[in-house]
Amino acid sequence: MEKVLMKGNEAIGAAAIKAGCRYFFGYPITPQNEVPEYMAKELPKHGGVFLQAESEVAAINMVYGAAGAGARVMTSSSSPGLALKQEGLTYIAACELPCLVVNVVRGGPGLGGIQPAQSDYYQATRGGGNGDYKLIVLAPASLQELTDMVQEAFDLADYYRNPVMVLADGMIGQMMEPVAFGEIPQWTLPEKNWATTGTDGDRAPNVINSLFLAPEELEALNIRLQAKYQTIKANETRCEIYQLEDAEIVFTAYGTTARIVKNAIKILKAEGIKAGLIRPMTLWPFPEAAYQALPKTVKCILSVEMSCGQMVDDVRLAVESKVPVAFYGRSGGMIPTVDDIVAEAKQLLGR
């Protein structure tokens, strides 16, 4: 298959268009600007609409409107921008509207910086918005994976009627790698007979709404959503298990951090230390089972993140105190080095 050298942010746009996304609403913010720029240039050629909204708040609500009207639609932003979108996201989740939201993560808190980070793990998996809702959160570690995930995200969203987030750190957005736009598996998707397209006079009105003043009705919605989340958890949890056999130490990391960890594993191996990696590819649902099935040789787990320790919480919950869980992270746009990770692992193992 032909490979094209692309920048991550452009690959996001190209993959979305390939997946049939024809509507993009967004607002400029670094380091994701090449996504809207690509869409502004390319979507009109495909009969689509790119619209620069007045704010991230407006953009996510345009996504709400378009998704509710039955379209394949997306927005992208970066960390503080995602903070602004949270209200829209909880409405979208409550109304079960399919859409893709890309977060090219930069350092925080506050306005933070514009360098890569993974400090939006909580924001993505816990939901910054109100109420009990979940986004399906995909975490690519390469541009090929990014391309595949963006394409599949639309099917996942349509199939489960749920918003999907691709959580890409700034490195994924900004770096260049060769990617191939292969045929991704085609899902059999339900008809969007719930969308507001106008009744055409031949059906009862469709309503997109998340207001339920009767507690019985609101609880019924929550029960239905939770059942759906359980199905998603059962069917869509994904992770990469790397060299876990006989491992003394198991790293866990997602996104580009996992690639740095793989280099650290190589160096440790050369020094006679057996190390493996659990790389969650879905951050929600979190691949809990992978942490339950550790080989008996494992002495500890080290979560490596570009944050002050966020995913490590889920790791600890999954491990259920069976093995000690440690954390190593850099933040603010600083990136953990292979040497740092190797040193940290050795210290943990007392070598």
Partner: protein
């Protein structure tokens, strides 16, 4: 004898939650009648706000989306961009449109989004219990201006129609009232025009409708009509504020 007035097919059979004498019911009916008379009910998609008219989606017999507070124009933008051939409108109160949602409505107008906005101005927050709105009149008492609105503290009320007339993107802006049958008939004409502008693809059209809130004004429904006429209309003069070009 022939029927000269009956309930429009544009309204559902759900009874409204509005307080006795609340003029939201009149405005809902006018919108529904206009959509029926223009024969666009099958292609109409409404967007309801947060506020008293949050449940509007139950009362219209058409497709509807319920928006986040203030963001109805953004939601309507999303719908209209997907379905440019459909008739898309927002129905928003003064808290929704003139306070929390000013950015969205200004920019929908600024882009000349080809939608229609029905802006219901009753000078108060109704749903939350009578708090001060951006449109509350000087001296008017509310639960958050218990001594009456003090313009030195809270500013003068926002004149939305006047403001929107200055936005290059607006095609049609008119302020109407529903305090008596003549005004109601004029309001309906303006609402019809606003939808005709959309169907003709002329861009953003808005009708500001002066409305009552008997419960939170602390007046009887009948006295509320008089209060509107005597107090609101002098500050919010009725009339056309912008007509880009006549739509035939």
């Amino acid at each position: 004898m022939a029927i000269v007035f009956e309930k429009t097919k544009g309204l559902s059979n759900v009874e409204t939650h509005y307080c006795p004498g609340c003029t939201h019911g009149i405005i809902h009916r006018l919108v529904a009648e206009v959509l029926e008379e223009m024969d666009v009910l099958p292609k109409a998609i409404g967007v309801s706000p947060v506020g008293c008219s949050v449940l509007a989606f139950k009362y219209f017999n058409i497709d509807f989306q319920e928006a986040t507070h203030g963001r109805a124009p953004a939601v309507a933008t999303g719908i209209k961009r997907v379905h440019p051939d459909k008739v898309v409108f927002t129905y928003q109160g003064d808290g929704d449109l003139a306070s929390i949602g000013t950015a969205e409505i200004v920019h929908a107008a600024h882009r000349s989004e080809n939608i229609t906005t029905i802006f219901v101005n009753n000078a108060i927050y109704g749903m939350t219990g009578g708090q001060m709105a951006p449109t509350t009149l000087p001296g008017q008492k509310s639960t958050t201006s218990p001594l009456g609105r003090d313009p030195k503290h809270a500013g003068m009320p926002l004149k939305i129609s006047e403001m929107f007339a200055t936005i290059p993107g607006t095609a049609y802006v008119e302020r109407v009232s529903v305090h008596d049958p003549v005004s109601i008939r004029n309001a309906k004409k303006a609402i019809r025009k606003a939808f005709e502008y959309q169907v003709a693809g002329k861009g953003f059209a808005m009708v500001e409708v002066l409305s009552t809130c008997p419960t939170n004004w602390g007046l009887s429904p009948v006295d509320s009509l008089t209060w509107l006429k005597d107090n609101m209309i002098p500050y919010y003069p009725l009339g056309n504020y912008k007509t880009l070009e006549e739509v035939k």
